[in-house]
Amino acid sequence: MSALLDIDRVGMTYVSGTLLARRVVRAVDDLSLRLEAGRPEIVAIIGESGSGKTTLARMILNLATPTDGVIRFRGTDVAKIRSNHARADFMRQVQPIFQNPFEAFNPLKRVDRYLFMSARRLADARGAEVDALADRALHQVGLSLAELRGRFPHELSGGQLQRAAIARALISAPKLIVADEPVSMVDASLRMSIVNLFRSLRDELHVSIVYITHDLATAYYISDRVLIMQRGRAVESGAAREVLANPQHPYSRLLKASVLSPEDAGKPTIAANT
């Protein structure tokens, strides 16, 4: 089977400061991950702040270039995509979802603008097709162009905005979506509809999703595989239910033990980890 995404021993070293005060940060270290083509799945990358998970997302999206190793998308080295044409082609197939839905749209512009833009530029739609494409994508996320047309970001809730962002990503019928903490800024009551949406994207539209999160519970709920990161390294990976039900690595165990579950309600006997 050919790989959709092949992350091959990738590393990222940030050098900050000037000659006088160099500081070297190893954000991602020797990390490998492979998603097969033709078998859509949701892979959760789990880690805390500073684990390198966001750097990994940026590298997959070609927003950052790895200092070691290669990331291949359908056999092409992502870092070598330079020309406008190749970039557009890549963006047709790989799309991001960002963390903060309120920040993901220009507050001074109408939300539908980005959907139309994607339809024209990435899906080569013209005239009435543009509206049709946008409307179809919005219906896939439970919205419609009728309710979104002409609206500004501040007129919509976080949940609606995040759905609109997902709809925009869907317009070019991508093969892979990289979602960096897509629900952490969305209110709890709206969160599950977004999470469920990812599941239906996989099952109905056959999109593979790299789901980057710090939340073990949603990762358990939707993902097929997980990869747990600590300080740039993958400490444990495997089938989501197995790994999270019975983590082996001490760090994974610590993470799981730290999850505050509503199950414990009424017996507030919280104890420190250390």
Binding site: E103, L108, M117, R120, L122, H154, R168
Partner: protein
């Protein structure tokens, strides 16, 4: 942009005052078009007359009507300030945007140079410039020299805006919507950049007019073209104050002060308006 202006005029007292003062001075300058006397002509009216119904602002010892002379002076001074501001905008916008968008090493290098230009005292350099050129000194040359020296502080402000815009999430969203860099800059970011450009333009006009007046009063410019500074220069040459011809000095100083305050009010009220918090509050973001 039009609604911005309308909002500012309607709800910001400072902006309204600034617009009125600046507009008044601009209208006054426009009167130069209907002046009965050419600006260079001397002894067209009786000299040293105090303000009266026939000569509103009095006449000078050189036999010029202060009122009509001042319309030319204000016009030239404003045009000068505007040219310096526009010319230096070319540099500060280019440097600020480039530095802010590129980031990294380009940003650090450009900002080092930029900070250097902020720190260097420009007045001695401009005096040196005059000293070398002497009689060949002309308004366009001076404007060019000031524009090429006076862009740095504004470039820093513009860079800060560009830097924050380039790291906003919506910029990435635009990229992945297939928008080209040019489109992102001109369609998405321009509304955030324009107010700061307007603000720095007003400030820069104030700065350049101030320096022009100063250099002219000292006689370090082309003293044959009437500007506010040149008027005061000639008044001083004729020891107008000692001779009691105070109106020769009073009206230019008064009008240029009004202009300064007007431009300054325009600048600060715009600056307050572009504060993102006030902008969000206006758009109806719920707090709490």
């Amino acid at each position: 942009m039009f609604t911005v202006l309308r909002d500012l005029l309607r709800y910001r007292t400072e902006f309204r005052f600034g617009a009125i003062l600046t507009g008044f001075i601009a209208a006054f300058a426009a009167l130069s078009l209907v002046s009965p006397y050419p600006p260079q002509d001397q002894f067209v009216v009786p000299p040293d007359l105090p303000p009266s119904w026939s000569y509103w602002f009095g006449t000078t010892s050189r036999g010029q009507d202060v009122f009509w002379q001042l319309t030319f002076a204000i016009r030239n001074t404003m045009l000068f300030g505007l040219s310096v501001a526009v010319l230096s905008r070319l540099v500060s916008i280019a440097i600020g945007m480039w530095s802010g968008y590129k980031g990294g090493i380009v940003d650090r290098l450009l900002m080092s140079v930029n900070d250097t230009f902020i720190v260097i005292p420009l007045f001695p350099l401009l005096v040196l410039f005059y000293f070398v050129l002497r009689d060949r000194m002309s308004w366009p040359l001076l404007a060019l020299a000031m524009a090429s020296l006076g862009w740095a502080y504004d470039a820093r402000l513009i860079r800060a805006v560009a830097l924050s815009l380039s790291s906003r999430e919506f910029t990435q969203q635009c990229v992945f919507s297939g928008m080209r860099t040019r489109e992102i800059v001109f369609q998405e970011h321009l509304p955030y950049v324009l107010p700061i450009v307007f603000y720095t333009t007003m400030n820069n006009m104030n700065w350049s007019i101030g320096l022009e007046v100063t250099l002219s009063v000292l006689g370090f410019t082309d003293i044959d073209t009437p500007t506010v500074g040149v008027m005061i220069y000639w008044a001083n040459q004729h020891t107008a104050l000692v001779a009691g011809v105070w109106w020769w000095v009073f009206f230019p100083v008064l009008f240029v002060m009004i202009l300064f305050i007007g431009l300054f009010l325009l600048a600060i009220s715009t600056n307050e308006y572009i504060d993102p918090r006030s902008r969000l509050a206006r758009m109806g973001d719920v707090s709490g």
